[in-house]
Subunit: 463 residues, 2 copies
Amino acid sequence: MAPPVLTPQADDFPRWYQDVVAKAELAETGAARGTMIIRPWGYALWERVQSELDARIKATGHDNVYFPMFIPMEFFEREAEHVEGFSPELAVVTHGGGKELTEPLAVRPTSETVIGDAMSRWIQGYRDLPMLLNQWANIVRWELRPRLFLRTTEFLWQEGHTAHATWEEAQAETIRILVEVYDDVIRNVLAVPSLRGRKTEAEKFPGAEATYALEALMRDGKALQMGTSHHLGQNFAKAFDITFSDENGKTQHAWTTSWGMSTRTVGGLVMAHGDDRGLRLPPKVAPVQVVVLAVKDDTVEAAGNLMARLVAAGVRATVDDRTNLGFGRRAVDWELKGVPVRLEVGPRDLEAGHATLVRRDREGKDTVGLDGAAASVATLLEEIQTAMLTEARRRRDDATIDVESADDIDGPGFFRIPWDRLGVEGERRLAERGYTVRCLLTPDGEIPAPDTAELVAYCAKAY
Amino acid sequence: MAPPVLTPQADDFPRWYQDVVAKAELAETGAARGTMIIRPWGYALWERVQSELDARIKATGHDNVYFPMFIPMEFFEREAEHVEGFSPELAVVTHGGGKELTEPLAVRPTSETVIGDAMSRWIQGYRDLPMLLNQWANIVRWELRPRLFLRTTEFLWQEGHTAHATWEEAQAETIRILVEVYDDVIRNVLAVPSLRGRKTEAEKFPGAEATYALEALMRDGKALQMGTSHHLGQNFAKAFDITFSDENGKTQHAWTTSWGMSTRTVGGLVMAHGDDRGLRLPPKVAPVQVVVLAVKDDTVEAAGNLMARLVAAGVRATVDDRTNLGFGRRAVDWELKGVPVRLEVGPRDLEAGHATLVRRDREGKDTVGLDGAAASVATLLEEIQTAMLTEARRRRDDATIDVESADDIDGPGFFRIPWDRLGVEGERRLAERGYTVRCLLTPDGEIPAPDTAELVAYCAKAY
């Protein structure tokens, strides 16, 4: 076996993260400050997230569109909270085609403004509602302390934008996206259990009436926001004049929502499951679910046949027949990349009519008969998917502690405290020590309704 | 029937194009000058193109990646032709995070420079070659006379970037992409027949050794470049120091290629097939291949059942049950949107046990028995796909004229003239009259090898 290549998590978690992102060839820093080059393995993970999300966004009735990334500065000034929130983060184009522009253009930090402007033209009557749009796009928010995937000046995301006839319909949309689209992908594909809750006033999106979020726990005990869904009330409808004629012919302002999930999720996937040997990928998000490793030249053909049978059974499998490289080095490399199952085919395996099976999610080796391999591996992948979610949930639950006072909030993990005991002032004081209220839930752990009186705050340090 | 909504092509083709793009709700102008909002129907077309292209790009061994869109200005200055070609079109970010930047950033007009810079780090030895990368991205080139899809300041595309050990391998890649990826999609999915040829020196990509292109004829007799593939020689490898150690341990510069296809293709699809009633979509690129139109309330259920059987047979079908709207208006709208097959289900159709079938690609109505409808419609869609390509090829061939002298080049269509008769000077004079050499082919209509002496120039006015 090759020597360990990563800084151990327990020694220095941020350093471990840097190491694994670099050595598993997920991404690296771009030439322009704060930007990121996403390499093939990292992009393949993002493509898996994209395709799972896109299918659910379409299944819930949304149409994909594309809006320009250049936004007239004037658009931002129409919604007071919005401009205040985003102005410090804008990148501004001042020159185009060799000339200075008469009006500078912002590079989109989010698209509520341009989409609101279009909706005001596209929506006339109640029959045009709901209008359910989504776009896949790059986004720019100037970052002073960039970290690959987690906080980069440019990142990739999808942003949904919808308009509705009533507050209730906008509320239903906001929650549907959080639960049926985002959490379904994050929990059931990425195997990351999240808290589903509402943000405090201090943490909500600039211009929103309410922000709902998914908050997951990383292996260092810090929280990461995995996706957000905003009820925008009539704020943007009023700023951009999105009105419709209702069934009685009366003109009303629409109610809008917006929601986004980004390449940051890939960072969350790495930090929620990774260990000292590298990534650990849940099968559903793994670009390669099974690698068949030909140990020697004379097992290359058998390894290829096994791979072909796996592919025919619907498994994303590949063969590693680089027998010019040492076996140990290749095994370590696939572990680093997080492939869920490794099947080793050596001369003695072939003699015994089996392959040696190594799961990435736990220790130990097993064997699987070559004959029934495809079917049993397909079943095993489902087991691994479930096991990884269970493990992550247990880790999260073990790190969730009830406290009576803000003074007890100290260390890794989630701290549960009644919101009326913490309050806005307590929240402000926590912030001074680097802790934030990640979200508010009901005492039963449910998403609170707007009028829910009894709320529990989940506090943590966060990325 | 509703009154005609489009300017007839024969009256004013550019106006017809504007009309159809607006009325079929493909796209509209964005708030920032020269930009474009791609609406759901237009974006659905682009998604079809994307998925067909992406599958072929992956099948030929390329990995998807993502590079930052902000490029330090200094990168452009390393390749002399490249900076000269792109400088006039750059958009420049001078402010970020509320401060003036010490070095301004260009918004990518293409990514040879940033990808070349990364390749110089990623490629060490001959075993790292070929390196086959692709990215899906937005691109900015400042446009003085924007036209939706055809020329917009921001557009969407994929750009492939590869590095190879030898000139021959780079040449094979350049041609493989043109033929097996681009032309396969444009001819066999978009049903648009293209000329496949080489660009003249005057028309090639800034920084390329040779540019190969697909040139298609629009219905007004003008040409549109549908995709390009560039052999970059060692120009970028030398500018960005992309070297590798060969099998003998000797350091050599790599040979690189790049190639791109963009949202412009959607404009080409519109202009190659559209008629005075709107779009005409080949089935393989149609987001909806069959619309089942319920004529009256009491045929809504039967229409829904028929749609379900079509979907089960793998047809992209939808039902139009908006019986509150007039039948004629709905029929005209689906024709405008270009859906290949309309099945009308009215009370008399049901009585007769059939649906009325209307093909978008030709005049006339037919009937199809409800029982075997799914299978016969699936077969019909293949027939329509072939018929549309045949029709477009005949139109192109009819509009291709052999001429003996540059003076005879006048009017719509392609003009074939031996390149040694036209020459660089003839090309220059043609340009003064608005004609360009679209590409050079062999006398047999093949892609010329670099040393082919006998070349035929295809000249046309172009978008």
